[in-house]
Amino acid sequence: MAIIKSIDKRRVIPNWRDFKSTINNGELQCQQNKLYKIPNSDKLLQEKIDDFIKTPALGIAADLLSTAYILDIYENLVIEKAIDLIQENQNISSTSLIDLSKKVHSKDEPIKDQIHESDSLLTTSKHDYIENIRKQIALYKNRLRLLPINPVGWVELSRLYSLLGQPKQSENAIKIALALDPNNRFIIRSAARLLIHNDKADEAYYYIRRAEILKYDPWLLSTEIATSCILERRPKFIKESIGLIESKNLSDFSLTELTSALGTLEFYDGSNKKAKAFFKKSMISPNDNSLAQLEWISNEDKSFQINPNQYNIRNPQEAFALNCFENSKWKQVLQYSESWLKDIPYSTRPVLLGSFVAETFLNDYDKAIELCKRGLIANPNDVITKNNLICSYAQVGCLDEAIQLLEKLKPGIALLPDEQKIVLQATSGLVLFRMGEIENGRELYLTAYQNAKKANYNYLKNMAILHLAKEEINAKTDNIENIFNLVQKETTESPDNDVQELFKIVEDSYKKNRKSD
């Protein structure tokens, strides 16, 4: 039985992307977003213009161009002439100079990537993907050998290690970055994401709390609120956070995660009215995280309405995937899960969602296997990803692989949380069914069902019985009627749309089976 959920409550934990993508997302901008003009800029530029008019030599053209770029003043015909001179003399110009002349010409051309991750995640093979990350690690290690004081480089290295599922190396690197610059938003938010991912929320909280700028930085305040909630503590800076929001000194975008975090806090505290007010503010200028947060909340409580398609933001994959899931648009869910995984490759959530949908609703077992395998690179010990992989293996008849994986999981099962134990019981039932051991398989499925029922895990209970029914029908056993009756009894009241949709599939198979009999 493949399942989707790895978290109960979504919190506004920062998404950790590479430095360049984080900049492009706008999360690192200075709060006050206005231009600063260097004193006497126009006169300083005019001097260089006069120099060039007097002596139009390459060196003077270069000097003029540099000046224009430093001062951020480009509108001048003489500058154009200097650019022409540089471009006409490319044989005696440096590449940097030619580049700069093009840049000044087109003003805001983005910085050329020096290092970038693979553009395509699932279109490259697993081997190539890993090799590419290893190459980047080597590159960063080399860069850091030459300039070990560069904290951003350490964060990038940490992230790359996390993509390969090497938490120790990843944490070491991020701690160096934190030691070099304990007050940097990018570093603290990256560290928080990593440490929470590695179940070290208390350590994450320590680094957030230590930052001198915490009280003034909405992006850190939102992280503090989210981390406190994970630790089941009351956030310490709610008053300051509300003060920042009310000060009206910050842009709506700067406040989007903070208002979203406060909204989430109110929502889980049961104050829907306050939550709605905060979420409304967070949606004035949302980012991927705040949009996904409201989408998540709207799935938990239908009185929170949102249409993520109406927002034009970067990386909306998570919100879109969740929204499509709620609307049973399975193909789109898979598509968005893939791009979500590409964006956040260390996360298990897109892997679980994508593989669940691929296996359960699209019968695309190969895709589910591929997704799980990709997910296991960053999270090699994730039980639920392994569970989903076992299910897909069993579905395509790769029973040896499924059994092997299951055997590896066995020794640790006793230590797992109850929910995961139930899931693995059901999955073991599936494998046994596929091995032809129908009685044993049924017993395990029913044990999972009973355990879930006892512990009040309605979703798991429904899924266990639905999957059992699927297997009974598939194996054309004598027990189909009994199990289908149980399915009807248990699942018709379910609020989960995936349970309802799976019921339809099972019902359809049941009817077909009856006809053929």
């Binding site: 260097i38 940097s96 910085i111 938003r185």
Partner: protein, 351 residues
């Protein structure tokens, strides 16, 4: 109608009984920032030596600061002149061979003008500033560039040895002499000296923001005056190395490699908050600089020099071995030795 100042009327006069003023010229190498001065070509009547005269331009001061109190302007002008003259005389006395010092100085008196006195300084005639000489193709003129940089580093060290920090080292202040075989540092007008009080010594950066190190562009104030002054000189020299080889100074190279959100014209926060991003851009800038030097030895050596000299954290600027020793972290000795070694190797084509 009488003109306000006499600075434009010196042609034909004989000054200090030995300098004949030949003609007014628009500007001259080392006389950039010419708002403050009027330039002339002059000839020594005894030796026939052609030299360059810089006369104070009062009118420019009125243009530069419209609405400013006249008493203040005159005070500032005379102080500025006095400072430059004193500092140049100090350099002359100390025989700083790599600094463009004065040959003579004095004051002309033109009685028919409202302000008849024209203070002047006479300099050795430079052929040009270095911008006219440079081209930036890979590995072109390496031997010459290294020699010239060696001269400038030596000049800077000479200045530092008499407790002067230049503060305005830039390509237009690198003057070439004797068929461009000798390079000297010109224009000490914005320098700071420990023994002579400069009128512009108010704790802020007196130099040219077009070349300023990043911490100044981000409005970061260094409390320690020594670090503030000498770290800036270090940066300006490193930036000059970059300019010699790729035509961009380090500041524009940094600007090119930093995201526009973090550029000094957009960043309103503290320098400390943006420092990590500047460091990242600095690393990219160093790599970009190195990638354009074909010769592997030079690539490594110059890359390292620029990294030490232009490091974005001013307190950590300078040669790491020098930083570990007692004395100034900004001592240029190690760079001079290395540039000397490299220029000789390049000259004999050994690299």
């Amino acid at each position: 109608m009488e003109r306000l100042n006499a600075a434009h009327s010196l042609s034909g006069l004989v000054l200090n009984e030995k300098w004949k003023v030949l003609k007014e010229i628009e500007s001259y190498p080392g006389a950039t920032g010419g708002f403050f001065s009027v330039c002339y070509e002059v000839q020594n009547l005894e030796t026939g030596l052609i030299a360059f005269l810089k006369a104070l331009n009062f009118e420019a001061f009125f243009q530069m600061f419209p609405g400013k109190n006249i008493v203040e302007i005159l005070y500032e002008q005379t102080q500025a002149y006095k400072y430059e003259r004193d500092i140049l005389l100090l350099c002359k006395t100390k025989r700083l061979s790599k600094v463009a010092t004065i040959l003579d100085e004095g004051e002309a008196y033109l009685s028919s003008f409202t302000i008849p006195n024209v203070p002047f300084l006479i300099f050795e005639l430079a052929e040009m500033d270095v911008r006219n000489k440079l081209s930036f193709a890979k590995d072109l003129d390496n031997a010459w560039k290294l020699q010239s940089l060696h001269d400038i580093a030596a000049g800077l060290r000479q200045l530092h040895s008499v407790k002067i920090s230049h503060q305005d080292l830039k390509p237009s202040n690198v003057l070439l002499y004797h068929d461009s075989t000798i390079s000297k540092i010109g224009d000490l007008g914005r320098s700071l000296c420990e023994s002579i009080h400069a009128p512009h010594d108010n704790g802020s950066f007196p130099g040219d923001f077009r070349y300023a190190p990043p911490e100044l562009l981000y409005r970061y104030y260094i409390e320690d005056a020594n670090i503030r002054k000498y770290a800036t000189d270090c940066y300006l020299f490193g930036s000059l190395i970059v300019f010699y080889f790729i035509g961009l100074n380090m500041t524009s190279l940094l600007a090119k490699n930093i995201n526009k959100d973090f550029k000094w014209t957009k960043w309103h926060g503290a320098y400390k908050e943006v420092q990590s991003y500047v460091l990242e851009a600095f690393e990219l800038a160093i790599n970009e600089f190195k990638s354009q030097i074909e010769n592997e030895t030079l690539q490594e050596e110059l890359g390292r020099m620029v990294e030490y000299l232009c490091f974005p954290i001013p307190e950590k600027r300078g040669h790491p071995r020098t930083i570990l020793l007692r004395g100034s972290s900004f001592n240029l000795e190690r760079f001079i030795t290395r540039l000397d070694y490299l220029s000789k190797k390049a000259k004999y084509k050994l690299i």
